[in-house]
């Protein structure tokens, strides 16, 4: 971090802003393509080789659309929130050891910082729906908060059990000190984390806050044009960040034979994205009360069980 030019390049280009942006678009393409193939469709095809540039084309198209601000919304927040939303996953991703070492200097406790950022993201989603003053948006916003109550807790407990096992709260440390990846040591925690991540990313079966056939687009209903583009972008970046965090915590980060860490990291991230897409493919959407009761009745007890097992494991390793 000594040379300011190198750190600037790291932040802006690789593995910083532009890299994450491109990765977000690529992951959206992978997600859409795999989703389509599972459904016996072809998926994006015409823009670029095998429709590779379709997410970029969608993004640019939305940017060129008319920028509408409805009359009765809170204009300041309504225009501000789409700008803030993509910042959070990017900032959080700066603590992921994408290239073997994170862009921002890791410290003992950056896991907690990242958890905080994820929580703030949910609150931004809630506010985005709430300031729209649309009835469908308000319902979507309320659902986003309810879902957050159900899923953040098991997610954090499953992260905590890994932290206990590795005796560290630093993502980089956890990623680097995994002789056996935690996906094998704590498979239960991994499954819980993946399910909670699916809810965090608002993907089927937990796309309740933006359930299309029920409440139009939920908290997103009033957003169109560039604002929608930025929310979609932030969702893609959340996918990148979620896959990256899963890789760092459960799959041993960039560690692997022969290939450089960044390649290993990307391969593992794609694996997580495809897992998430498969989950999205095989389920119908659940109802908010079913999701909450499921989360509190099954996921949280299982997460606590995993925490206890992790404690035992830590004692055994000692």
């Amino acid at each position: 971090m000594a040379d300011p030019i190198i750190s600037l390049i790291q932040i802006l280009i690789f593995p910083g802003l532009i890299f994450l942006f491109i990765l977000g678009l690529i992951f959206e393409w992978i997600d859409r393509k795999v989703f389509a193939r599972f459904q016996n469709r072809i998926g994006p095809l015409y823009t670029g080789p095998r429709g590779f540039l379709q997410p970029l084309a969608d993004f640019i198209k939305l940017l060129t659309k008319e920028d509408v601000t409805p009359r009765y919304v809170d204009k300041f927040l309504f225009n501000l929130l789409p700008g803030i939303a993509p910042v959070l996953p990017v900032f959080a991703s700066f603590y992921l050891p994408l290239n073997g070492y994170p862009i921002l200097h890791p410290f003992e406790g950056d896991l907690i910082l990242i958890i905080t950022l994820m929580t703030i993201y949910t609150i931004i989603v809630f506010m985005a729906g709430w300031v729209s003053t649309n009835r469908f948006s308000s319902i979507g916003a309320a659902r986003a908060i309810l879902q957050f109550l159900g899923f953040e807790i098991p997610m954090f407990i499953s992260l905590a059990s890994v932290a206990i096992d590795s005796a560290s709260l630093s993502i980089t440390y956890i990623a680097d000190h995994q002789p056996i990846p935690y996906i094998l040591l704590q498979p239960l925690g991994f499954i819980i984390f993946l399910i909670a991540l699916q809810a965090e990313l608002e993907r089927v079966p937990f796309d309740i806050p933006e359930a299309e056939s029920e409440i139009v687009a939920g908290w997103l209903t009033e957003y169109s044009g560039p604002k929608l583009a930025f929310f979609r972008l932030s969702n893609n970046l959340m996918l990148v960040f979620g896959a990256g965090l899963t890789t760092a915590i459960f799959l041993g980060g960039g560690s692997g034979p022969i290939l450089p860490p960044i390649i290993w990291y990307l391969i593992k991230m794609v694996f997580v994205v495809i897992l998430s897409t498969i989950l999205r493919t095989v389920f119908a959407r659940l109802r908010i009360d079913q999701v909450l009761s499921g989360a509190w009745r099954y996921l949280i007890p299982l997460a606590i069980l995993q925490l206890i097992l992790a404690k035992f494991l830590a004692v055994l390793v000692m």
């Binding site: 016996n40 469908f136 309740i208 119908a284």
Partner: protein, 393 residues
């Protein structure tokens, strides 16, 4: 906590056609529902009166895109009744075949739509892929994928050759296998089950009171099916089972429709085996003699009724149409009460609504046990007054 209102429709992703349900909600729970019709009133009945008897077939075909075959069947049988003739046996069997193909196509379409309403896109894509097979068969027979224009006053237009027969039988084998697979998906997939079981319950007495028809009534354990109760077009010669379930919920409606697809496949096989030889059309006069007739047929959505009156002239004097969706709207309003917002799409979809068929006006005052129909002049007077008073209710 006070209640609040949300409108669902006329433009809403859950309802593809222009129709409005005004929901009164307490949190996420539905307290009251008010349906509002009239967005797509197209003046079809008046249009019938302005067209000749033959043109009426093609207009009736366009009342509903999905269940167009029962509409033409019903109209043609009604006009044939005025002529007081029976169409040839072969034509009757061909009518059954095309009607059942239409039923399979409609039910599979509906099954896919349900998957979409539940957010289960994979199911939707698979079902619609297999639905293509039925549409190919309809195209093979008639040259059109969706509107076959098969029926004509006095018989049917297209014949089924032995080669087509083979193709249809092959298609039926494929569809039977796929439909059985979808039935197992519906029965075993937990997310579908939790979203449909004990949702939108309409018990047997309520279904009777609210005059539910078709699969909705059969899912509430009412044994009602025009094909059984009042057989038309040689349905009495074909053995088939009346599918009923007693769960009374959305899940039962899914199962009724899936089982009906299987029954339809058997009916088509039976018809192809028994298909009599002979002409497919009986030539009739252009205009039927004066008289009136009422015909009911079982459309995929339920009982469809046509009343046709002739005064011996070039055009029908009056054609009155009662579509199944209209009959099911009071039932769906009852079903919705007490459930969540998230259940709205599934429950509304469970009656397989088709609003563009539905735009008619009939008043029923249940408290005073009285019913009346407004004439055109009354409606006109009401609308003029309504707009004079500012056009708001």
């Amino acid at each position: 906590m006070s209640t609040y209102k949300i409108p669902v429709g006329p433009q809403h992703p859950a309802i593809k056609e222009a129709f409005q349900f005004n929901f009164e909600l307490d949190g996420e729970i539905i307290v009251n529902v008010k349906p509002r019709l009239g967005f797509v009133h197209r003046g079809i009945e008046k249009g019938m009166e302005l067209r000749s008897w033959v043109q009426g077939i093609y207009l009736s075909e366009r009342i509903c895109g999905i269940c167009n075959v029962p509409h033409t069947t019903c109209y043609c049988i009604a006009v044939e009744k005025l002529h007081d003739v029976d169409v040839p046996k072969r034509a009757q069997y061909l009518r059954i075949i095309i009607n059942e193909l239409n039923r399979i196509h409609s039910h599979l379409l509906w099954l896919g739509v349900l998957g979409m309403e539940l957010g289960f896109l994979t199911f939707y894509m698979y079902v619609w892929r297999d639905r293509e097979r039925v549409m190919d068969l309809v195209e093979l027979i008639s040259g059109n994928r969706v509107t076959p224009s098969m029926n004509f006053i006095g018989g049917v237009v297209y014949d089924i050759t032995p080669k087509m027969e083979m193709a249809i039988k092959k298609g039926m084998d494929y569809l039977e296998e796929r439909t059985k697979y979808y039935k197992s998906v519906v029965l075993n997939e937990p997310t579908i089950k939790v979203r449909t079981e004990n949702i939108g319950v309409l018990n047997k007495s309520a279904a009777t009171d609210l005059c539910a028809v078709g699969p909705v009534a059969r899912a509430s354990d009412l044994k009602t099916d025009v094909r059984f109760d009042d057989p038309y077009s040689s349905y009495d010669e074909i053995p088939f089972n009346l599918v009923t379930y007693s769960y009374c919920d959305v899940f039962a409606r899914v199962l009724v429709r899936v089982d009906e697809v299987l029954e339809s496949i058997n009916i088509i096989r039976e018809c192809l085996d028994k298909l009599p030889s002979g002409p497919i059309m009986k030539k009739l006069k252009r205009t039927p003699p004066p008289g009136e007739s009422t015909v009911r047929v079982e459309a995929p959505r339920g009982e469809l009724m046509y009343y046709v009156k002739s005064d011996g002239k070039e055009n029908p004097y009056r054609v009155k149409i009662r579509t199944p969706t209209l009959a099911n709207i009071p039932a769906v309003c009852e079903m919705l009460k007490g459930y969540h917002i998230a259940d709205i799409p599934a429950i509304i979809a469970s009656i397989d609504p088709c609003y563009c068929c539905t735009e008619r006006i009939l008043f029923i005052d249940k408290a005073r046990n009285k019913r009346w129909i407004w004439s055109h002049s009354q409606l006109r007077k009401y609308s003029l007054e309504w707009y004079e008073n500012g056009g708001r209710r």
